[in-house]
Amino acid sequence: MFDAFPFDEWSEDIAEFWTYGGEGSTGTYIMTALGVAAMLIALVGFVVLEQRKLRRQTEMLRASGALERPNVVVATTTTTTIITSD
């Protein structure tokens, strides 16, 4: 340990800076509130963004007719699929 190193003095300065004013201070409460708000906004954003994507894709799929009810009788075997029209 080198006594000349001003660890205690520097650490106090750094601690005051790091904690935005220290435990239970106005700055810490504001940071907490902002963080909670960002978290909630992100959660709502996940829902809204996904809803848009799914709605768009669903409408596209329905419009394409790709999922129309097949007018077929399906019979299958172990290795092949036989599709026969009515």
Binding site: M1, T32, F46, V47, L49, L61, T76
Partner: protein, 497 residues
């Protein structure tokens, strides 16, 4: 230069006893800090493993949407656990705080006085703090446990749950439900511990069992994947796109479990005489390493024989084996752990088959069986094989009754929120992707691309209940129409409106 430094070092006066004590204390705290930090690093493998495990179990069309759940779990559980989950752990050990927000006043727990206040997000311990080397890394270890609970649920829901719905459920489970049960039964001052001697040292029930019960509640509202069951209710099998990836994921999870096990212990040599379990009862790191390793050995063995050599269930059996012996990991002899984990591995296979084929609950990776059933089984086993072992700071004897009390408390604590929250999401129509998107695959809808662009797209295969491999497209389309486009109804003949 070197001789000058050496001379100045020699010139210093001999340290006093107080200075040596202060230095030893600081060194001890820094060792503790390093220990938990590296357990966190190792536990990341659990999440890398869950991602690979579930992505491999998903069909090709759902790979990225499956993996993204595991990644974004970290995005939502981390802040929610920081802002209110950790506070629940610190302040709800006696249930709802009776005298404001204070730490429990248990004789012998003076070392934790003020823990509750230290867990609020504006506390000095919850940020950079040069006077505290332990609180932050201890929080991080618990945060990784929280991710794990969400990842346990994740695999069961794949291929039809909405990403955003899963993330909401992950917050409820990872930052609310599991940490509440941890406060009650996985802490030094938890009411189940100090009054009933509840013993679940490495979290068979408080992590795995609770996550499994929560998941079951969600699955009942989510329903099976389209085409999972025939009109008669027999179960088809969907083949994952990459079983090798699934098995690699499981091996990563197993590696991460060593970090998980280690992080469940408490070490701080200037405060406690040695290694302690989460209830502050003495143990050793070697004792739990014995049990986890024999747990894997027995679990693989049980899973192999019960499934008649199925690769997926052999490795899942290893996981189930460990979970079955985790609750008593600080107590069990390795041979006992080996025998019990064999039974746990077998139980997971039988329970998984029953849940899939008899209950007709589509749990895509067997999470309810492996984590849920074996989590409860592990706590039950402690009541049978470790009854009388003194648990906790006030040395209440473990007992079958105490273990039963824990099971009775945690089953509704986990199942009801899972069922209720998923029911609400279902009523809001944001729990499950539209049936059309499910048939096409979630990746195209969520990300607009196929994640294997240079590979030929081969027809999807489904295994019929009689074992025949058939082309999946006509089967799934038929199931889609027979269920009126509502995949939660496995049997039905109504027309789609």
């Amino acid at each position: 230069m070197i001789s000058s430094l050496f001379s100045s070092w020699l010139a210093q006066a001999a340290p006093t006893a107080e200075e040596i004590q202060a230095q030893v204390t600081l060194d001890s705290q820094i060792l503790t800090e390093q220990f938990y930090f590296w357990t966190v690093v190792i536990m990341w493998l659990i999440h890398a493993g869950f991602m690979a495990y579930e992505a491999g179990a998903a069909r090709r069309k759902n790979v990225m949407s499956t993996a993204m759940k595991n990644i974004l779990t970290i995005a939502v559980v981390t802040p929610s656990f920081y802002y209110f989950g950790w506070y629940i752990y610190g302040c709800f050990e006696e249930g709802w705080p009776k005298d404001g927000h204070g730490s429990p006043t248990v004789e012998g727990l003076e070392v934790l006085a003020g823990f509750c206040q230290n867990t609020a997000p504006w506390a000095a311990q919850m940020g950079p703090n040069l006077q505290d080397h332990v609180s932050a890394v201890f929080f991080l270890a618990f945060l990784l446990f929280s991710w794990t609970t969400a990842s346990i649920m994740s695999g069961a829901l794949i291929e039809r749950v909405r990403l955003s719905a899963f993330l909401i459920l992950a917050v409820v489970l990872g930052s609310g439900v599991w940490i509440m049960d941890a406060a009650w039964g996985w802490s030094g001052g938890g009411w189940l511990v100090t009054r009933y001697g509840f013993h679940d040292s490495i979290a068979s029930l408080v992590v795995h069992g609770v996550a499994g019960a929560f998941t079951l509640g969600v699955l009942l509202n989510l329903g099976p994947r389209i085409g999972k069951y025939t009109v008669e209710g027999a179960a088809r099998t969907f083949r994952g796109h990459n079983t090798h990836l699934t098995l690699l994921g499981l091996m990563l999870i197993f590696t991460g479990f060593y970090g998980f096990y280690a992080a469940c212990l408490v070490i701080q040599s200037t405060v406690f005489p040695g290694w302690l379990n989460i209830y502050f009862s003495p143990t050793t790191l070697g004792a739990i390493a014995f049990v986890i390793t024999f747990g894997f050995a027995g679990g693989f063995t049980g899973g192999w024989f019960a499934s008649k050599g199925d690769p997926f269930w052999t490795l899942s059996g290893g996981l189930a084996g460990v979970i079955s012996v985790s609750a008593g990991a600080d107590v069990y002899h390795p041979s006992l752990a080996y025998l019990l984990s064999i039974s746990g591995g077998m139980l997971a296979v039988y329970a998984g088959t029953y849940i899939e084929k008899k209950l007709r609950v589509d749990d895509a990776v067997g999470a309810v069986a492996v984590h849920g059933v074996c989590g409860f089984y592990g706590v039950f086993l402690v009541g049978v094989f470790a009854g009388g072992y003194p648990t906790g700071i006030n040395n209440v004897e473990s007992s079958f009754g105490g273990q039963l009390m824990g099971m009775l408390a945690f089953l509704p604590l986990a199942f009801i929120p899972g069922y209720v929250v998923s029911w609400i999401l279902k009523k809001l129509n944001i729990l499950r992707v539209p049936a059309e998107v499910e048939l096409e695959g979630l990746d195209l809808a969520e990300f607009g691309q196929d994640f294997f662009p240079e590979f030929e797209r081969v027809p999807e295969i489904v295994i019929e209940p009689d074992g025949r491999e058939v082309d999946a497209a006509p089967v799934l389309l038929d199931a889609y129409w027979q269920t009126n486009g509502r995949a939660e109804t496995p049997v039905g003949t109504g027309e789609r409106s």
